[in-house]
C-alpha cells in the first residue's frame, strides 16, 4: 500500500482512470454551474472553500505534525484583503460612514484575482512572523501562539476603523456566484498539495511528523521544512478566506472568532489527519450534513412531537459523530490513506471477502 502510494510509476500506469475522473468532474462542475439553483450553488461553493481551508490546515497539522490553530486569523487576513481592495470606490463613502477610509487606500481598487493572491501573500507574511520564533521550538508552543495570533488579528481589525471599518464590517463586496472560482481554486490547490506531498518536501514533512529526531539525523532541516509547510498552508488559507469574503459579500471581525478554526479541525479529524481525500470527503459531509440535518431542528421531525427536536439538535449530531470517530476510528475516516484506485480495489476485495463469509479477522479493511 505505502509503496504504491508513493510510486509515481504506479500513478502513471493508472493515469487513464484519473484522467477520465478529472474530465467527468469538470463536466460535472460545468453542468452544476448552469443548472443548480442559488441555494445549492451557495452550499457547493461553501464546500469548496472548506476543502481549501481544511486542506491547508491538514498540510500543517496532518502531514507535518505541527499543531496550528491559526486558521481563523489567516482567513481573516485573506478576507479583509479582498474586501478592502475590491469594494467599488463609489460605495466606499456609504460603508465607511463613521470614519472615512484611510486616504492611501481609498482610491485603490484591484481586480478580484489580484486581491485574492495578495490576500494569500499577506497571510504568508503574517505566518512568517509567527512561525519564525515558534517553529524553532518543539511541543505545543505553535498551537498557543497561533491561537493567540488569530485573536490578535481579530482585535486589530476591530480597532483599525479607517482601514477595516471596525466592528461595522464591510459590505457590498462584489460577489462570486460561479462555481468555477471556488472549484477552480480548490482543484488547483488539491493538485498542488498532491504534488507537494509526493515530492521531496512532502516526504520531509512526513518524516518530521513521524519523528523529529530521526528526521534531523537523516539531514532534514527541521526549521526550514516546518516553515515551508506553514507558509504554504497560510497562503492557501488566505486564498480560502478571500473566496469566503467574496461568497458572502460582507466581512466583519465577529466572523473570525477562534471557534471558526474548530470547524476545520473537526473536518480534518473526521477525514483523517494526513489524508487529502479524507479532508475533501469530510468537508462535503460536514457542510452538506449541517444543511441536510436541518429537519432535526423542527419540532415535528419524523412526525414525532418530542421535546428534543428543537433548534441546535443538528449540532449535537456532529458532536456525537466526533465522539464515535475518536472512540472507534481514532485515525478518522481515511487515516493516512488516500482514495486511490488501488485503495478502492483493495477495499472492494476485502469487503467481498467478508461478505463471502470467510471470518479471517486479521485480513480485510483494518487500517
Amino acid at each position: 500500500m505505502k509503496e504504491t502510494q508513493n510510486n509515481i510509476g504506479a500513478y502513471l500506469k493508472l493515469h487513464w482512470k484519473t484522467a477520465v475522473f478529472l474530465v467527468v468532474l469538470l463536466v460535472g462542475i460545468g453542468l452544476a454551474d448552469n443548472f443548480v439553483d442559488s441555494y445549492v450553488r451557495r452550499l457547493l461553493n461553501l464546500c469548496a472553500i472548506y476543502v481549501i481551508v481544511s486542506l491547508a490546515m491538514n498540510l500543517v497539522n496532518g502531514f507535518t505534525g505541527q499543531f496550528s490553530l491559526g486558521q481563523a486569523g489567516f482567513m481573516a487576513i485573506g478576507a479583509y484583503t479582498v474586501a478592502v481592495f475590491t469594494v467599488p470606490i463609489e460605495s466606499r463613502a456609504a460603508i465607511f460612514y463613521l470614519e472615512p477610509m484611510a486616504p492611501f487606500l481609498a482610491n485603490i481598487q484591484l481586480p478580484f484575482i489580484v486581491a485574492l493572491i495578495l490576500g494569500g501573500l499577506a497571510s504568508v507574511v503574517a505566518a512568517f512572523f509567527i512561525g519564525s520564533p515558534c517553529l524553532r521550538l518543539r511541543g505545543d508552543y505553535l498551537a498557543i501562539a497561533t491561537l493567540g495570533f488569530s485573536e490578535i488579528i481579530r482585535i486589530v481589525f476591530t480597532n483599525t476603523q479607517s482601514i477595516t471599518n471596525g466592528a461595522l464590517g464591510i459590505k457590498s463586496i462584489p460577489t462570486i456566484s460561479s462555481l468555477w472560482w471556488t472549484y477552480g481554486t480548490a482543484l488547483l490547490i488539491i493538485i498542488a498539495t498532491v504534488l507537494l506531498i509526493n515530492s521531496t518536501y512532502g516526504r520531509a514533512f512526513k518524516s518530521i511528523r513521524e519523528d523529529e529526531i530521526a528526521a534531523e539525523a537523516m539531514g532534514v532541516g527541521l526549521f526550514k521544512t516546518k516553515m515551508t509547510s506553514f507558509l504554504i498552508g497560510a497562503f492557501f488559507t488566505g486564498v480560502g478566506g478571500g473566496l469566503f469574503a467574496a461568497l458572502l459579500g460582507t466581512v466583519d471581525p465577529k466572523q473570525f472568532y477562534f471557534t471558526l478554526t474548530y470547524n476545520f479541525l473537526l473536518i480534518i479529524v473526521l477525514g483523517g489527519m494526513g489524508s487529502i481525500s479524507g479532508t475533501i470527503i469530510a468537508s462535503f459531509v460536514v457542510t452538506l450534513g449541517q444543511e441536510a440535518l436541518r429537519f432535526l431542528d423542527e419540532p415535528m421531525a419524523f412526525g414525532l412531537d418530542l421535546p428534543i427536536f428543537r433548534p441546535g439538535l443538528r449540532m449535537v449530531v456532529f458532536s456525537f459523530l466526533l465522539m464515535v470517530i475518536v472512540l472507534f476510528y481514532r485515525k478518522g475516516l481515511m487515516g493516512t490513506n488516500e482514495l486511490t484506485w488501488d485503495f478502492m480495489a483493495l477495499k472492494y476485495q476485502s469487503i467481498k471477502k467478508k461478505l463471502g463469509g470467510k471470518k479471517t479477522s486479521n485480513e480485510g479493511g483494518g487500517n
Partner: protein, 388 residues
C-alpha cells in the same frame, strides 16, 4: 465488535441524512392555498436569546392573523446559528427550497447584512425586525425595517442628556467590537456636539471589547475628566459591570444607554448600582403608544401569563409580521415583487411600537422613542420623546 458498532452508527447517520433530504423535497412542493413567510433568526449560538424573543412575537401575530387574501399563512422558521455563512445559506434555503414570498429577520445587523445580497438578487422582500445598523437597508431595495435606526436613538439620548439632565460634558464608553454600540456612540457624539455647539463637550472616550471584565482603566480616565453624564451603549452584562465598578470608584455621574440594556440580566448583574440608569427603547408594555399596541399586550399576556415584562423585540416581531401581511393585502397578490412595492409604499401603518411609514431608504421613519429607567429593580416608563 467495535467495528460493527461503528459501521452501524455511521449507517444510522447516513440514513438520517437521507431522511432529511427526502423530507426537505416533499415540503417544497407548491401549494397554492398557502402563503409562506420565512422567519430567519439566530436560534442557536451567541444571539439565540434575542432571536427567540423575536420569533415569539412573529408567532403570536401569526396566531392572531393566520390568513391573508383568503389563504393560510405558513411560517417557515430557519435557524442561522448566529453565523454569517449560515445566515446566507439559511436565507437562500428559505427562498429556493421553501419558496417563501417574504422574509422576516434577523436579530443582529451583521446577519441581516449578510443575507441582504441573497434577498436582493432573488428579489424577495425582507423585513428586519430589530436590526438598527443603517447598512442593512442602505443600497438594498429589498430590505425594509420596522425599528428605528442608530442615528435616531443616538439623537434621542443626546437630547435627553442635554435637555433633561442639563449635561455640558459627556463621557462615552463604547463596546468597540459591537457595530451597534459604535454606531450609537458616533451619532450621539454628532448630535450632542451640535446641541452644545462645543466640539470638546465629549470629554473622554473609552473602548472595551465584548467579554471584558475589568473597566477600571477606562473609568479612572473618565473620573479625571469629571463628566456630567456617561453614555455607555453596549452589551447588558458589560454595561452593568461598568456601572458597578464606576460606583465603586466613586463616580456619581448618571449613566445613560440604549435599548440593549433592557434585559433582566442587566438588573441581576448590576443590582442596586444600576438604579437610576436611563435608556431609550422601542416599546413599553405599560404604556402602549397605539391601539395595536394595546391589543398586542393583551394577547401576549394571554399567551404567556407567566412573563413579567414584554421585550421590545417581541413587539417588533409582531409589527414586522403585521406590516408584511398588510403589504400582501394591499398588493393583492403573493408575488414577491408586488409585495416589495407595497412594503415600500407603507404609510402610517399602526404597529404595536408606533406609527410606521417606510421612507425612501426602506427604513421605518419613526419619530417616537421611549425613555425608561431602573426603579426599585424594575424597568420603569419615564417619558416618550418625539423628535422631528
Amino acid at each position: 465488535m467495535k467495528k460493527t458498532l461503528s459501521v452501524l452508527l455511521s449507517l444510522a447517520l447516513v440514513v438520517t441524512m437521507a431522511a432529511g433530504c427526502s423530507g426537505g423535497t416533499t415540503t417544497s412542493s407548491e401549494d397554492s392555498d398557502v402563503i409562506k413567510i420565512g422567519v430567519f433568526e439566530p436560534l442557536t449560538g451567541a444571539n439565540a436569546a434575542g432571536g427567540e424573543l423575536e420569533v415569539e412575537g412573529v408567532e403570536l401575530a401569526n396566531q392572531l392573523r393566520p390568513e391573508v387574501l383568503g389563504k393560510k399563512v405558513e411560517l417557515v422558521i430557519a435557524d442561522n446559528k448566529s453565523d454569517k455563512a449560515e445566515a446566507t445559506t439559511a436565507a437562500a434555503r428559505l427562498i429556493e427550497k421553501d419558496k417563501v414570498v417574504a422574509i422576516l429577520g434577523s436579530w443582529g445587523s451583521s446577519l441581516s447584512i449578510a443575507a441582504g445580497d441573497v434577498v436582493k438578487t432573488n428579489q424577495i422582500p425582507a423585513v428586519a425586525l430589530s436590526a438598527t445598523n443603517p447598512q442593512v437597508t442602505a443600497g438594498n431595495d429589498y430590505y425594509f425595517r420596522v425599528c428605528f435606526l442608530d442615528p435616531f436613538q443616538g439623537t434621542v439620548m443626546a437630547n435627553y442628556a442635554y435637555k433633561n439632565l442639563n449635561a455640558k460634558k459627556v463621557a462615552i464608553i463604547q463596546e468597540v467590537s459591537n457595530d451597534y454600540s459604535v454606531g450609537l456612540a458616533k451619532f450621539f457624539t454628532d448630535s450632542f456636539t451640535k446641541l452644545t455647539g462645543d466640539p470638546s463637550s465629549i470629554v473622554a472616550t473609552g473602548n472595551y471589547n465584548t467579554g471584558d471584565q475589568d473597566f477600571n482603566g477606562i473609568l479612572t480616565n473618565i473620573k479625571a475628566a469629571n463628566p456630567d453624564v456617561i453614555f455607555a451603549p453596549g452589551n447588558f452584562t458589560e454595561s452593568a459591570l461598568i456601572i458597578k465598578q464606576a460606583r465603586a470608584l466613586g463616580i456619581t455621574a448618571p449613566f445613560i444607554g440604549g435599548d440593549t440594556w433592557e434585559t433582566n440580566e442587566f438588573i441581576t448583574v448590576g443590582g442596586a448600582d444600576v438604579e437610576g440608569a436611563v435608556m431609550s427603547t422601542f416599546f413599553d408594555d405599560t404604556n402602549p403608544l397605539t391601539e395595536a399596541g394595546k391589543t398586542f399586550v393583551a394577547e401576549y399576556k394571554k399567551a404567556y401569563p407567566d412573563r413579567d415584562n414584554i421585550a421590545a423585540v417581541t413587539a417588533l416581531g409582531y409589527d414586522g409580521y403585521m406590516m408584511t401581511l398588510d403589504a400582501i393585502e394591499r398588493a393583492g397578490s403573493a408575488d414577491p415583487v408586488a409585495i416589495r412595492d407595497a412594503l415600500a409604499a407603507t404609510k402610517d401603518f399602526e404597529g404595536a411600537t408606533g406609527m410606521i411609514t417606510i421612507d425612501e431608504n426602506g427604513d421605518a421613519s419613526k419619530n417616537e422613542a421611549i425613555i425608561k429607567t431602573v426603579k426599585n429593580g424594575i424597568f420603569t416608563y419615564m417619558d416618550s420623546v418625539t423628535i422631528d
